[in-house]
Symmetry: C2
Subunit: 218 residues, 2 copies
């Protein structure tokens, strides 16, 4: 499988555009934990994930984190190339959550083609709208949902991603996904354990009653 | 002043595109309080404000609100026409905060031109990125800033918009901007009053010490 099989707009670009992308394209294989974009407003380029998992998040001055969205196979990330759209005035961090292979399209090449191709510009609109929708979903979560429900939902989402109810994950990591503090997560998980929803051991949260966890009132 | 003086991309459209927009354009004058877009995923069209002030916000199932951004003269709103970008999967409400006159560009006309014009598609990207940035700013506010600081900042922003330190505004309204409850706002404003930052009377919050209000620690 080649780049052109992963990049949905390939067939709508002309030969010259395809060649400019191919000539500038980088392929990277990174280990879990690698920082791919460090949130400064510089322009790392657009990421297209071949396989693995990336996490986009923001960071407060005090070092607290909150996950904005995840990127999986075939997902593309625009926010690592914020210079291609002037009005994108915020910083995100992007790190590999698993060993990941990805292509990087240099921002200047992408931007030049986007300016001449309505198809690529409209596709970019869809990419941005999709991240924008993720973030709006996050605001609704933060604003209207209690933290116990958010932790329960996060555990179930993780179990779905990993295909396992046994999650190797510290309380600190869960807190960093949800924008809260470790102590708060620990307190809530202990309460879940007392209720028989999860079983805790060192560095592991195991979901023991999926149904009851899912049924927690919002 | 005419539509074409307000719509920054006018000169980059061809004659046929300009005519299609002009022929379908609606001009509306609405009173303060008018609901312009009710948050369902239907497509009201793109708004371009001639004068006045609009407010975009979201609503929880329990009726709580939080302001996403405001629109002033020459601002354009894409989210009232979410059908033009498939991946825009969230609902916003848009209401007039002051008597407002605006143009409405029907979504289907805009979308058809955007699909053929790279210039309009790229401009739309900028519009979306700018709202996206507003919302990211809001997340950082909610996540990392204490409510007293958010209320202080909101009062100062309002004073700047109104050009007056005397704000005719109920505690309920402030709560609806910030996504919190009236009781919480009332408690905080009373505390501000004790500290000499504001003076409260029926339906009015008057900023009495701007400097001290601005200096509140984040």
């Amino acid at each position: 499988m080649d780049f052109q099989d992963y990049f949905p707009l390939w067939a709508k670009l002309n030969r010259s555009q395809q060649e400019r992308i191919r000539a500038s394209l980088l392929f990277r294989e990174v280990k879990k934990g690698t920082m791919l974009h460090d949130g400064t407003l510089d322009c790392t380029g657009l990421f297209l994930v071949r396989d693995g998992q990336l996490r986009a998040y923001i960071l407060s001055e005090e070092g607290r984190e909150i996950t904005l969205y995840r990127l999986f196979e075939r997902d593309m990330c625009l926010l690592s190339a914020s210079c291609i759209v002037h009005s994108l005035q915020f910083e995100v961090m992007i790190a590999a959550e698993k060993d990941t292979s990805l292509w990087v399209i240099p921002a200047d090449v992408y931007k030049a083609i986007m300016e001449e191709s309505a198809a690529l510009a409209n596709y970019t609109n869809e990419l941005m709208a999709s991240r924008f929708s993720d973030v709006m979903w996050l605001i609704e979560e933060i604003m209207w949902k209690s933290l116990d429900k958010r932790i329960a939902d996060f555990l179930m989402e993780e179990a779905a991603i990993e295909g396992s109810n046994r999650l190797q994950m510290t309380h600190e990591t869960i807190a960093n996904h949800l924008g809260t503090r470790r102590e708060v997560v620990t307190r809530m998980l202990r309460y879940f354990q007392e209720e028989g929803l999860v079983k805790l051991s060192r560095g592991v949260v195991e979901i023991t009653d999926e149904k009851k966890l899912a049924e927690r009132d919002p």
